[in-house]
Amino acid sequence: MDPMEPFKATFFQECEEQMAELEAGLLALESGEGDGETINAVFRAVHSVKGGAGAFGFDSLVKFAHVFETALDAMRSGALEVEPEAVKIMLRASDVLADHVLEAKGQGQVDCARAQAMAEELAGLTSGGGEPLEEPGDGSVEGEDSFGFTPLMVDLDEAPAARAPQADVEEPGGWRLSFAPTEAMYAKGNDALLLLRELERLGAHDISLESSALPEFDFLNPEASYCKWSARLPGDVPEADIRDVFDFVGDDCPLALIHENELIKGAAPPSLVADLGLAPALASALDDPFATTPAPPPAAPVDVAALLSAARAEAPQPAPKARPAVKDAPAGEELHAGKEAGKAAAVAATIRVDLDRVDRLIDLVGELVINQAMLAQRVSEANLARSSTVAIGLDELEQLTREIQDSVMAIRAQPVKSVFQRMPRLVREIASATRKEVRLVTEGENTEVDKTVIERLSDPITHMLRNAIDHGLESPEERVAAGKPAEGVVRLAALHRSGRIVIEVSDDGRGINRPRVRDIAVSKGLIAADASLTDEEVDNLIFLPGFSTAQTISDISGRGVGMDVVKRSIQALGGRISISSQPGKGSTFTMSLPLTLAVLDGMVVTAAEHTLVAPLTAIVETLRPKPNDVRRLGPRGAVLAVRGAHVPLIDVGVALGWRPNPVDPAAGVTLLVESEVGGRAALVVDAIQGQRQVVIKSLEANYQRVEAIAAATILGDGRVALILDVDAVIDSRFLEKLESQPLAQAS
């Protein structure tokens, strides 16, 4: 295995976070909610991606990030206005940057023409569409450029927020820094030139090269590092900005940084001492960080050697690399050691844990729940009094087990934000491909759901959004003609409802064209020409297999996947999807999913001597029907009258092929269940054993898929019980198949 792999994996993980930060920041700027710190955060995100990419030699990613960063820097310095058009370009640039990250990851290829056009657009931003601003460094940016153009940097001296460093003006209270690259730094593809360029952008001056350690040419190792550099920076540059430059070289390039104000006071604050202790190698690498600075400190000189020695004594361990996120604390003020320590503690409050470890923990807790249930069963079989100490202890154990289970599940719970954040890009791309104007509104991004569910949300949401924009929204002209704003609104919302997560995708478009849907369904033979359907039933025809065809699938929403596939994939997760539509006003797709795929609250029932678990979320009520509430329908069918309405009566034992003939519903128990798409049905079982939370064990993973069975579980007595797939059982197609079987086969 490549020894760099783990580092790369971490880099890509961080990239994902940075990209999310970037997009969130740009969207905030687009909506006018952003401020200076938002621009800083966006800049830092791109800068971080670039820095990490440089360390791994992802050249094209570095180059594009550099161009992007240059434009963002212009925005940060005020040279480029934060106006909607520029932010839109940057949003599209973030998409291209994401493509570069994917390419570096080996998961795709960047569209070079698109990347080049994007880079040119970004460069156009910084040149103000007219005269290009002068670049502070040389004529080229990081050597040859695959985009065939030279990105233009903003001349910070001319920017409104210019720091105007003047080499010949002595400014007391400035920064002094010294750094000594190591061989390792160069070996990782980093270069002193890049660091110095970044420092120049911050206003570095009096850059001085210290080459006394350089050997004779003949004894020189061309890949070893002998030189060190020192420079001065204006005092108003935030310390974090300077340290950011060295973020990606870390210990490979010891850095000494001091503010002259601290020197003047004659005593460095503890935070500074700690910072000087950041790199223990510093002392040996840098004899005197300021030996090469041209002018002595304006006030009482400080014994830097003593300072370094104090730093070594006080901070023997390298300080954590994580630094406060806020970068522009006013320089020259007292550094708040306590505040920084607080922030460092906040950073340390989260840890990255391998998902496998969390999954293992969840599995073990699942076993604990099963074990606890088995123990409870044994105790109950022993006929101990409920007030006995064993029974009380067991109750406490049960409560504790539940708490542990909830807490462990919470570890894996994540906000749906990670999925929602990918959607604005999708919407932009579809809008541009369909030439529609679309505004995506997201709600409930912080709604939490288990990671196993999150991972599977992306595809259905993607498809529903595609569908909403491509089929739901009208063209801007049609909208205006209909008296609507040219820009359509697509709303993506997440919320918790009755122990499930509900995702809604709604649009303010034309709504479902019911006559057309009906015609298509008739022409495809999906319904009889004279079938009498309610509006809701017509709307739900689009979920029927075979409804989507080449005729109705466009490049955008189609991709060969019909809504029936979406529906089935959602059902496979224990979810449901439904649609409601108002002609001329729009449609809403509602998808509801369990919060986790690991546990389930279920009703344990008996059917034909088998123990089954029915998900509690599907059960509306349980009842014992009176004989005259049951009406026969055809040779084998029956319906149950429930408060004036008739619902199909399904004998679960027969449906699962465990007995040939249905039992008398009046003798058993009936579960009134509801499916969002298939309406209601009454399931006949023999008896109810009780309600409990069960740990879901996948049948597909451990055995194979079984029709009408969602999964399995282990009960307290150690027996395996099957979990009923209620939607599948009451699905009309399943029932028809069942009814078409000869009686003998059903047994």
Binding site: L193, D218, L220, P222
Partner: protein
Amino acid sequence: MELPRILDLGAAGPLWSNLSEHRGGALDLDASKVERIGGLCVQILLAAVRSWRSADKPVRIRDASDAFIACARTLGAMELVELAEAG
């Protein structure tokens, strides 16, 4: 001797070898194509200039590109900047 366009980590070893071959003779460097010099190559060029000078051999950097001068200046290698500007 013509200096390559990019003088980075990958170019450091070959640059040292190529310069070594000219040991004993004049150091006449054509820097017209240079687009970037990194820290490592600046060290090599500096060491070469000093060694050649101490051996009393002529040293010249001619037709230096703007990028060469800008990089050398950014890196604080004023010896190289002066040589390049003198042509």
